[in-house]
């Protein structure tokens, strides 16, 4: 199966799932939404309401309304938030930069800590610093994200008072995008949230890299490379390259977990991103926003899984021979 056909097949498989999630979002809107009152206000007469029902197409058959709902969603028209009285699409666009910057920095950080720490722990297997590193990784894997964040605030913001505990700091607007990566206070505000979000990932990656690296260092090709007289650094590079193959796949899948737990991190640090918007909307039962998130999450995870599969194919040519099955 060629890569193009694989992508096409996977996208086709995703369509029923996406349509199902859209149906759930549509049902939510059907039960809770009241577009007539929303557009006319509570004082409208019965005749005005009937006219609005006809004009909005609310008396059309359900399948037709469902198709119209999907069509509107595809054009980015996701309804109007009942809590904030603003279009959901605009709200999401406004919150997107904060989340992308937080998740992006956390992802890079987790790769750096995970790969660097894992390689170190494998090379200096019995050092005391390695034991410390592994103990820290046990905490990183075990502690729930909100607890990591709260404890970091307790230490660095409440006790030592060296870093801010909430908000994004100063942001600079670049066209439609706001960035905190160009100001000092923006970076300072990013430290604790990014560490919190990266804690679980980096601990997990650290363990994966360490295991893979230990196997690689004990293998024939490394012993042979040493026998050939290659320098220590070059040998380590060969071993690391071999240990990383499963790690890249794991990291790509973990990108999804990162997105999920940015919801928690953003709440802990009052980070004005997509996750905070979702939590506030769930707490206030803001139906159009929740419906939009259902579809957004489904779409995002289809994309992440496809990207992870393609990445695996790119690294490990053996997978290309047999048709890749499963979801």
């Amino acid at each position: 199966m060629t890569i193009a056909r694989l992508v096409l097949w996977r996208l086709l498989q995703a369509v029923p799932v996406l349509l199902l999630v859209a149906a759930l979002a549509f049902a939510l809107e059907m039960v809770a939404g009241d577009p007539v009152t929303a557009s006319l206000g509570p004082d409208a007469t019965a005749a005005q309401r009937a006219a609005a029902v006809a004009q909005l197409g609310l008396d059309d058959p359900l399948p037709l309304r469902y198709l119209r709902f999907v069509g509107a969603a595809l054009r980015g028209d996701l309804g109007v938030s009942t809590r904030l009285a603003r279009p959901v699409g605009g709200l999401i666009a406004e919150r997107l930069p904060a989340t992308v910057e937080l998740a992006g920095v956390a992802f890079v950080l987790s790769l750096a800590i995970g790969i660097g720490g894992g390689a170190y722990a494998a090379v200096r297997r019995r050092a005391r610093s390695t034991r410390l590193l592994l103990l820290a990784s046990l905490f990183g894997v075990s502690l729930p994200t909100f607890l990591t964040g709260t404890l970091l605030i307790l230490i660095f913001a409440a006790t030592l008072r060296v870093l801010p505990s909430f908000g994004r700091g100063e942001v600079v607007a670049l066209g439609g995008w706001t960035t905190g990566l160009l100001t000092g206070s923006g970076w300072a505000a990013l430290v604790l949230p990014a560490l919190t979000l990266a804690a679980f990932q980096s601990a997990l990656l650290l363990r994966l890299v360490r295991d893979g690296m230990i196997v690689a260092l004990d293998s024939e090709f490394v012993r042979f490379a040493r026998a050939r007289g290659l320098s220590h650094g070059v040998v380590l590079r060969h071993a690391l390259a071999n240990a990383l193959t499963p790690v890249v796949a794991a990291a790509a899948v973990q990108l999804g977990t990162l997105v999920a737990f940015s919801v928690v991190t953003e709440t802990v640090f009052q980070w004005p991103g997509l996750g905070q918007l979702l939590v506030e909307s769930v707490a206030t039962a803001d139906e159009p926003v929740i419906a939009a998130y259902l579809m957004l999450v489904a779409l995002l995870f289809v994309a992440i899984n496809l990207a992870a599969d393609l990445l695996c194919l790119a690294i490990d040519p053996r997978l290309r021979v047999a048709p890749a099955g499963g979801a």
């Binding site: 502690l143 607890l147 999920a260 737990f261 998130y293 899984n305």
Partner: protein
Amino acid sequence: MRRLGLGPGGGIAGVVLAVLVLAVIAAPLYAPQNPYNLASLSLLDSLDPPSFLRGGIGQFPLGTDAQGRDVLSAILYGARLSFMVGALAVALAAAIGVPVGLAAGLAGGALDAVLMRLADAQLAVPAMLIALLADGVARVLLPRSWLDGAGVAILIAAIGLARWPQFARLMRTAAHLEGQRDYVAAARLVGIKPLVITLDHILPNVLAPALVLFALSLGLAVIDEATLSFLGVGLPPTRPSLGTLIRVGSDYLLSGEWWLVLFPALALAIPVLLANLLGDAIRERLGPRVRARP
């Protein structure tokens, strides 16, 4: 414990965890205060530090919160709620996932394809996010007046719905393999009804891995509960779980009342760490076949 082959670390973790859970279940027998009984609280006692610090009172070993509630009692009752929600949520996940997995594994064909496609699609999204969205959907669909009373039920349903695919996946594989055994073919030949074969012959033989997954999922479900309560979409401050306590306490982080966060945080972190150690030991013993996912 040695007979189970869990090793010393897993054994100790298991024993301590069991003692902790029993202590929390029995909390109403010995807790200094009933934190739900507002009449027993006095605002004069509000924000007292722990008794081992200057200004603390012996009556409140871990200090008090802004309402004058004893933090130790609140933690004991909160942990009870957290553990109960976690256990019932996993029970719900198993109650959905086991039958679905059995049906998919034994029936095969289109039913199998549809059910497993559904399970896979849901598995791709972390359980916490699914639970949060399920919580949101429930809040939209249920009348507002129900929400306070149904908080616990919504939470259990949301977490249970988020975790069923793992049980379904595991049971499907096990049931599929078991269905090809000779004793099943023999039972079919004798003319025993398929439902009876499934329940009396196959189910007992595939239950062991489901029980292990059940145990491994408990800690994760407790974390799900604590996370949702921390986010403010779980249990209300009037009936606080550990997550609610940490959320309320974190408002006092910068003003110096650190005991409101640290003690509930430890009460959550210690059992979860122990459960992870125990889980690692069980996995080591059984091989990587069973794995709970965050």
